[in-house]
C-alpha cells in the first residue's frame, strides 16, 4: 500500500519547459502566527494530529524527543512549528509516503508539530541509526516561528556514543560550548531532551548549506 508509492522526486537532469531566465531562489518569509494547530477537537492548517507521532507510543522501540523553544530573553516561544527528518534505526533513509495519513505501521521518518503555549514540543519516534561510517546519528530539525523571517536548520545528535560524537566532522569543527547545543540529553526516563534557543548565550547552532542562502 504505502510501499507502492515509492517515488523519486527526481527531474532526470532536464529543466522545466521554458524555464524562467531568473533562477535565483525564491525568498522565504515568516510562517506568521496563523499556521494552525492540532488538538483533540480540531485540526487547522499545517499541524495535524498524527504529526508528532512517527510511531505509536506503544511501539516497543518508541522513544520521545522533547524540549522547549526559547527566544533571546529566555522566554518560551509559544508559536513555533518544528519538523524532524531522520533515518530509521538501521540508518536507512525512509522512502515511504503516508506521513500525513499514518497507517500506524510504516515508518516515514518525518514529523511535524506546533509547540504548545509553553513552547514545548514532543515527538514520538524511533531513534535514528548512523547515516554512515564515522558519523554520529542525529535528527535533522527545521524551525519556523512567528517573528522568525526564514526557517532555521539544526541537527539534534543522540548523546550516547561518545566516540562517534568525537569523530563526527561537523561536531569536531565546533568549539565545545557551541557543540553542546546540538546534542540531546538522555533523561532518566530514557527520553531525549533538547531545547532550541534562537538567540543568546546558549544559542543553538544553526546550519547553512552550499547553494542555500540563509
Amino acid at each position: 500500500m504505502a510501499r507502492e508509492e515509492l517515488r523519486t522526486p527526481v527531474s532526470r537532469g532536464r529543466t522545466v519547459e521554458n524555464p524562467p531566465a531568473d533562477l535565483t531562489p525564491t525568498p522565504g518569509q515568516t510562517i506568521g502566527p496563523f499556521f494552525g494547530y492540532a488538538n483533540a477537537h480540531e485540526e487547522v492548517g499545517l499541524p495535524y494530529r498524527g504529526g508528532p507521532e512517527l510511531v505509536s507510543r506503544a511501539h516497543p522501540e518508541a522513544s520521545r524527543l522533547h524540549g522547549q523553544v526559547y527566544d533571546g530573553a529566555g522566554d518560551v516561544i509559544p508559536d513555533a512549528m518544528l519538523e524532524i527528518w531522520q533515518a530509521d534505526p538501521q540508518g536507512r533513509i525512509p522512502e515511504e509516503t503516508g506521513s500525513l495519513n499514518r497507517d500506524g505501521y510504516t515508518f516515514t521518518g518525518w514529523g511535524r508539530q506546533a509547540v504548545d503555549r509553553l513552547g514545548t514540543y514532543s515527538f514520538t519516534t524511533l531513534e535514528p541509526g548512523a547515516p554512515g561510517q564515522g558519523h554520529a546519528p542525529y535528527f535533522l530539525m527545521v524551525i519556523f516561528a512567528r517573528g522568525l523571517l526564514n526557517r532555521l536548520f539544526t541537527r539534534v545528535y543522540l548523546p550516547d556514543d561518545e566516540q562517534a560524537l568525537a569523530d563526527d566532522p561537523l561536531l569536531a569543527s565546533l568549539p565545545a560550548e557551541r557543540r553542546r547545543t546540538m546534542i540531546a540529553t538522555r533523561l532518566d526516563d530514557g527520553s531525549l531532551h533538547h531545547d532550541i534557543r534562537l538567540q543568546g548565550d546558549r544559542e543553538t547552532v544553526f546550519l547553512a548549506y552550499p547553494g542555500i542562502e540563509s
Binding site: M1, A2, E5, L6, R7, P9, S11, R12, G13, R14, T15, V16, D22, T24, P25, T26, P27, G28, Q29, T30, I31, P33, F34, F35, G36, Y37, L46, D71, A73, D75, D79, E83, W85, A87, I93, T97, S99, L100, T108, R117, L118, L140, R146, G147, L148, L149, N150, R151, L152, F153, L174, D195, L198, E203, F206, L207, Y209, P210, I212, E213
Partner: protein, 277 residues
C-alpha cells in the same frame, strides 16, 4: 541538565490570550517610524554593494524578530545523506480535492474566485516532482480561522483557507481559491498586511525546505509592510509577487495568477539517466 519545569500541562486549548500576539506596547510605534527604519535598511543595503536574495533575520522594523533572530553566524556544512533527501508524499497523503479551497464547505465561499498556478523547480530549473505544496490564507474579509485571530471581520462558514496538492511530473501545482483580504496586525499603529497566501514547500533535498508568502501585483501596502520589506533587495522582493495571467483566467468563472517557485540549489548528485524516453 534539568528539564525546565512545565507542570501546568492541562492547558485550556480554547483560551489563546498570548500577549506576544497582541503586545501592549508594540502598537506605540507609528507607520512613519517603521518607514524610517525600513529606509535605513534599504540605504545600508544599497551602499553595501552586497547581493541578498533572502529576508534579513535581524530586521527590527518587524518587531517580533528582535528576540527571535540568531546573533551568531550560521555554521556552514556540507549536507549529508539525510539532508540530501526529503520525505515522500503521495496520494495516501493528499486528496485531489484539497487543491480546491472553494469546495470544502457546504456552499460557495464569498469573494473573488481565483486560480494560482505555477511550477516548483530547483535553481538549475529542474522540476521538483510529486512533492507536497501546502497553502493557508485569510478569507476575502482578511480573517483566518484561528483562535489567535481577533480581527473583527466575518468568518466564512464555507472557507477554511487551507489547501494542499502534489506537484506534477513537470513540477506544476495549481490551487483554486478566493482572493484573500489584507488584514490588520499589531506590529505598530494602523499596521496592515498586504494580501498574501502562505506557501509551504519541500524540495528533493530537505535543505530546500521553505515557507514563504505569495503576494498580488500592485498592492499599495507593499511599501508599508516590514515583513515584505525584510527582503531588502527590490528584485528579490518582486519574486514573491504573482503575475496576473489572462491565459489562466476562465470565462465567466475566475481570474488567474501565475507564480513560479525556485528552491535553493539541490546538492544531490543525480544518478538517474538524463532522459528515459
Amino acid at each position: 541538565m534539568a528539564v525546565e519545569d512545565h507542570a501546568e500541562k492541562n492547558l485550556d486549548e480554547e483560551n489563546f490570550t498570548a500577549p506576544t500576539v497582541t503586545g501592549p506596547d508594540a502598537a506605540a510605534d507609528r507607520q512613519a517610524d517603521i518607514n524610517r527604519e525600513v529606509r535605513q535598511h534599504q540605504e545600508q543595503y544599497r551602499v553595501s554593494g552586497a547581493r541578498e536574495s533572502q529576508p534579513r533575520l535581524d530586521y527590527a522594523p518587524y518587531r517580533s524578530s528582535v528576540l527571535r533572530h540568531p546573533t551568531k553566524d550560521p555554521h556552514h556544512t556540507d549536507p549529508e545523506l539525510i539532508e540530501l533527501t526529503s520525505p515522500a508524499f503521495g496520494h495516501r497523503d493528499v486528496h485531489d480535492l484539497e487543491s480546491d479551497l472553494t469546495v470544502q464547505g457546504g456552499g460557495e465561499p464569498i469573494g473573488e474566485r481565483i486560480k494560482i498556478r505555477g511550477r516548483v523547480m530547483d535553481s538549475a530549473g529542474r522540476p521538483v516532482r510529486n512533492q507536497l505544496v501546502e497553502i493557508w490564507q485569510a478569507n476575502a474579509a482578511g480573517r483566518y480561522i484561528h483562535k489567535r485571530d481577533q480581527h473583527p471581520a466575518p468568518l466564512d462558514p464555507n472557507f477554511t483557507g487551507v489547501g494542499r496538492c502534489l506537484t506534477g511530473d513537470d513540477g506544476s501545482y495549481e490551487f483554486t481559491t478566493i482572493k484573500p483580504g489584507p488584514y490588520p496586525w499589531k506590529n505598530h499603529r494602523n499596521a496592515w498586511r498586504p494580501a498574501h497566501v502562505h506557501f509551504s514547500l519541500f524540495g528533493t533535498d530537505f535543505t530546500q525546505r521553505m515557507i514563504t508568502q505569495m503576494y498580488f501585483p500592485g498592492d499599495p501596502l507593499f511599501a508599508l509592510d516590514p515583513i515584505y520589506q525584510s527582503i531588502v533587495d527590490p528584485k528579490a522582493r518582486e519574486r514573491l509577487v504573482a503575475s496576473y495571467d489572462h491565459d489562466v483566467s476562465e470565462h465567466e468563472w475566475l481570474l488567474g495568477y501565475t507564480w513560479d517557485i525556485v528552491l535553493g540549489g539541490s546538492n544531490r548528485t543525480w544518478m538517474e539517466p538524463e532522459d528515459e524516453n
